[in-house]
């Protein structure tokens, strides 16, 4: 069954990020697959999320965890078949869950047939599908992104005896978007999946689609032309489908990717995430309010995507040096926890497994303006394994139960794609879905509840935000408003109890109704509204004039 694509569905969505490989193994080969994922959709539905974002599942040499695609129209055999995907999609839609898939548009694997043809000879018809050069000195103003591994954005191809352009690993040649045939083919790929029924795409590495001499080759006007062209086709042929931009940039630099509502529907707000962690540790709202003050207005049809953790490291590219040092010292004192310019840890370990802080961070994630993304396993407080290389430590098997392989797979433990977490604190015997489902007070139950509360009001998805600035800087307070509905959110970022006086005179006469317990708080009058808050406590109040 296809879920009707309603315009703007993404604004009220709550997205659950999953890698097929990590979630559930149905055939006992040690690798998660689409059949396993489909079998677990009841769980996803119960959690209350409204969409799933799937990481790359295409055929790939897997030299970059699937972001090196060798076939855009199929499924990696380890994860099943295209039919399995269709079944999964249908089951998800049956449950009202939308599916967003990954589209790695900037580059392919060097094993993709397009590249194999392109490099085969300089006269091949697909030669111009990639960016070739006789020298490695073109576009010299372009930064190298993977500084740890790459010396240049050019790689020598011994077969065709010339250089090809790559912004990421050298085994990921960039497609040439100046070539209309490439743009057409990538649209055909997207159309293929949209016709199957997917609800949207997360477009990877979008700032880098076009190259121009004398520029940084990032965020170029021609790149926006490509995006607008794609968006128009989506709107014309698949209205309601959503495009989500992955562009790790400052908010002001990201703003053009929304265009006039004619480019991306959504974009990740990368700089906010580390500042939420920073604000929590500093016990000071300043980093959070500052970055949101610097965040420009976006068209009404557009939306920010917010997240606490994801499959990558907690990126610290969008912070100052002094902030980065602070984050490293406080969240990654052990250098093995650091990767590139970031911290490769999951939410619970980052927060010392402190339930109050985990709840507060999720409370902010779900109440700040934007569509929240929950990374699989964070809803039960899964841990990580920093001793696995790269970012694999945050991509370990989902922990379903305390049994064999944590309920992830019936395979021999040694044959799993990744070892499960086994330690006494975060291991599957201590942290798993089954045991948490049995407790009303588990993190999982709490997550279900807060998601339910979030979904009970449209203000969180599409409402405006007005920050209150109480003199107590440890308290982050804001009012979300949409139509006649108003919600007051008050977060205590401190590890100690706090008293805070809020200037709510603009809402005089309203009573406050606490949204979790539905208790009534006193009516707002002329005096500052006094609240006392426990450590890391937060309130969501619905304002009602009765």
């Amino acid at each position: 069954m296809s879920l009707k694509r309603q315009a703007g569905w993404y604004k009220d969505a709550i997205i659950y990020q999953v890698h097929v490989r990590t979630f559930s193994d149905s055939n006992g080969d040690g690798i998660g697959d689409f059949q396993g994922l489909a079998q677990r959709l009841d769980y996803v539905q119960e959690l209350g999320v409204t969409a799933i974002w799937l990481m790359p599942f295409y055929p790939s040499p897997l030299r970059d965890d699937g972001y090196d695609i060798s076939d855009y129209r199929s499924v990696h055999p380890s994860y099943g078949t295209l039919e399995d995907f269709k079944t999964f999609l249908s089951v998800a839609h049956d449950r009202g869950i939308r599916v967003v898939i990954e589209m790695v548009a900037n580059h392919t694997s060097d094993q993709h047939p397009w590249f194999l043809e392109s490099r085969s000879s300089q006269s091949n018809p697909r030669r111009d599908w990639y960016v070739w050069s006789d020298t490695d000195t073109r576009y010299s103003g372009t930064r190298i992104i993977f500084l740890d591994t790459e010396m240049s954005n050019w790689a020598w191809d011994p077969i065709s005896k010339s250089y090809y352009w790559h912004r990421f690993f050298s085994h990921q040649p960039d497609l040439n978007y100046d070539n209309p045939a490439v743009r057409e083919e990538m649209w055909n790929v997207m159309k293929f999946w949209l016709e199957l029924g997917v609800d949207g795409f997360r477009l990877d590495a979008v700032p880098y689609l076009i190259e121009r001499e004398g520029t940084s080759c990032e965020n170029l006007p021609e790149t926006h032309d490509v995006i607008r062209e794609l968006r128009k086709k989506v709107d014309d042929q698949f209205p309601g489908a959503m495009l989500l931009a992955e562009a790790n940039q400052w908010p002001a630099d990201l703003r053009p990717y929304f265009g006039n509502g004619d480019e991306f529907h959504m974009a990740f707000h990368f700089p906010l995430m580390p500042r939420m962690f920073m604000g929590l540790r500093l016990e000071d709202r300043k980093p959070i309010t500052e970055i949101l003050q610097q965040t420009p207005e976006i068209p009404a049809s557009c939306q920010w995507c917010l997240f606490l953790r994801n499959h990558d490291e907690l990126t610290l590219e969008m912070v100052t040096d002094i902030e980065r040092d602070y984050m490293y010292d406080l969240y990654a004192s052990d250098k093995t926890m650091r990767l590139n310019l970031g911290i490769r840890r999951r939410l619970a370990p980052l927060l010392d497994n402190d339930r109050r802080r985990i709840e507060l961070m999720n409370g902010m994630l779900l109440s700040l303006p934007g569509t929240p993304i929950i990374y699989y396993g964070d809803e039960i407080g899964m841990g990580d394994n920093v001793y696995l290389g790269d970012r694999n430590g945050v991509r370990t098997p989902m922990q379903w139960s305390g049994g064999w392989n944590g309920g992830f797979s019936a395979a021999d433990p040694e044959s799993l794609y990744s070892p499960a977490i086994l330690n006494p604190v975060y291991g599957f015997q201590a942290v798993n879905v089954l045991s948490q489902k049995r407790s009303q007070h588990s993190l999982l139950s709490w997550m279900k509840h807060i998601i339910q509360v979030r979904r009970s009001s449209p203000v969180f998805g599409s409402g405006s935000i007005e920050f209150l600035y109480p003199a107590n800087h440890r308290v982050l307070a804001y009012v979300r408003q949409s139509g006649k509905e108003t919600v007051l959110v008050v977060n205590n970022l401190s590890s100690a109890a706090q008293a805070v006086e809020l200037d709510l005179r603009g809402y005089k006469g309203n009573i406050l109704i606490e949204m979790f317990g539905r208790n009534v708080f006193p009516r707002i009058g002329d005096l500052p509204y006094l609240l006392t808050m426990g450590p890391y406590q937060f309130y969501w109040f619905k304002l009602r004039r009765i």
Partner: protein, 422 residues
């Protein structure tokens, strides 16, 4: 609890909003609008540069300014500092102000700041003078870091001064404090200093706060409290100290605040200081400065006249304070012309000790005793000017050490006076 009656409700509300801090910067003000801005900028820059991660609050205790000094402090935006220094603040920096009184009382201002430090559980409390226009951002680090990093409890400043500046400190307060309490703190009455949270808390419980006269000399009591309480004391070289013209003319008031407080402290601490022999150096941090040697113009004739007039007019008073021999020596000196004028160090030492003993016994009003020391101090100042006209920095230090030696050598004389055996 002192703070229950000391702090206004409004100030308390502001403190609640600030919450726990690592560092509290205290500014005691009264009509400092003309100098406060560079001071507050330097403090903010020091915080950004040296303590970006720490929780810091600037607290202004104002004694009834009419020139909007508090507004200038509270209104100074750290963003302005950021735009110049490009150093970014991680945290909110609070600047709050309270009017503790409608007239300036530096002791009460200090008490207010310390009470706030105790309430906010500050690890370090640093007090900066609003007149210190020569302040550099790194003063904050020089004062606070020893507490923060090395667990000192009191950091006393050492300024780069002209050789004829700070005479009261060098010729009386330093040698006397060092001799009495056995610890060589160069600026026992400092306008800038830093103290640990635990010393601040302890100091707040002292009895002297309840006496208005004693409160006026709170800084010197603080130094003494740190020494006598076995707290860890150090000194830090800061830099040139701006010379404040305000109040410079009121030598009598300055003597009451400083010398009076020092003399007063001897009463209660007698069991302690009476057993101390000699002195030990205080750990001193940072690069030492050369004293400045530029020639200065001083009206020596006027100084001599003030001394001679004082000795003559206050003779009845001196008879109740000084020994016969000391008074006789002073009268001989008063007869000398400027070129032959000399008030020797040992005689000066005996003079000070006899004043201290008389203060202890309250032979006349204690205020009058201190006031009577003023003309003699002027005579001693004239001697220093004459003796050190061509002196180098090393000569100055040697002479000072010699004076301290006289004080320490003659300490038994003070003990005898105390015991009334002379």
């Amino acid at each position: 609890m002192a703070e229950e009656t000391l702090l206004t409700d409004d100030f308390l509300r502001q403190l609640i909003n600030v919450g726990e801090v690592d560092i509290l910067v205290g500014l005691r003000t009264h009509n400092n609008a003309t100098t406060i801005e560079p001071v507050i900028r330097a403090i903010q820059a020091g915080i950004l540069k040296c303590f970006p991660r720490e929780r810091v609050v600037i607290i202004n205790a104002d004694g009834g300014s009419q020139d909007r000094t508090p507004e200038r402090i509270v209104g100074a935006s750290i963003d302005d500092v950021w735009s110049v220094s490009k150093v970014y603040a991680l945290r909110t920096l609070h600047s709050i102000s309270t009017r503790y009184s409608s007239s300036p009382e530096p002791g009460t201002a200090l008490r207010t700041i310390l009470a706030a430090a105790e309430l906010l559980r500050a690890k370090a409390c640093v007090v900066i003078s609003p007149d210190s226009t020569t302040i550099e951002p790194d003063w904050l680090q020089k004062l606070v870091r020893p507490i923060y990093a090395d667990n000192f409890d009191l950091v006393s400043p050492i300024y780069r001064r002209h050789k004829f500046e700070g005479v009261l400190m060098r010729d009386l307060l330093y040698p006397m404090t060092r001799t009495i309490y056995g610890y060589g703190v160069r600026e026992p009455y400092a306008s800038e200093f830093a103290i640990s949270g635990r010393l601040a808390t302890d100091f707040l419980t002292k009895e002297f706060w309840n006496d208005e006269r004693s409160r006026a000399g709170a800084e010197i009591y603080l130094t003494i409290a740190a020494i006598t309480g076995n707290y860890r004391v150090c000194q830090s070289f800061l830099g040139p100290k701006a010379h404040s013209d305000r109040g410079a003319s009121d030598l009598v008031a300055a003597m009451r605040r400083t010398v009076g407080a020092l003399f007063s402290s001897l009463d209660s601490n007698f069991p302690l200081w009476s057993t101390i022999v000699g002195s030990q150096p205080v750990p001193t941090l940072g690069a030492q400065f050369e004293v400045m040697l530029e020639p200065v113009r001083v009206n020596r004739k006027r100084l001599r006249e003030m001394f001679a007039t004082g000795v003559a007019q206050l003779e009845p008073v001196f008879r109740s304070i000084l020994s016969v021999s000391t008074l006789s020596e002073l009268q001989k000196i008063a007869a000398l012309e400027v070129d032959q004028f000399i008030y020797p160090a040992d005689l000066w030492t005996k003079t000070v000790f006899e004043f201290a003993a008389s203060y202890h016994k309250s032979v006349i009003s204690r205020d009058h005793i201190v006031q009577a020391l003023v003309p003699l101090y002027r005579g001693r100042t004239l001697t220093l000017l004459l003796e050190n006209r061509g002196s180098s920095g090393e000569d100055i230090e040697r002479n000072l050490e010699s004076l301290c030696g006289d004080f320490e050598r003659l300490k038994p004389y003070l003990l005898e006076l105390w015991a009334d055996r002379k």
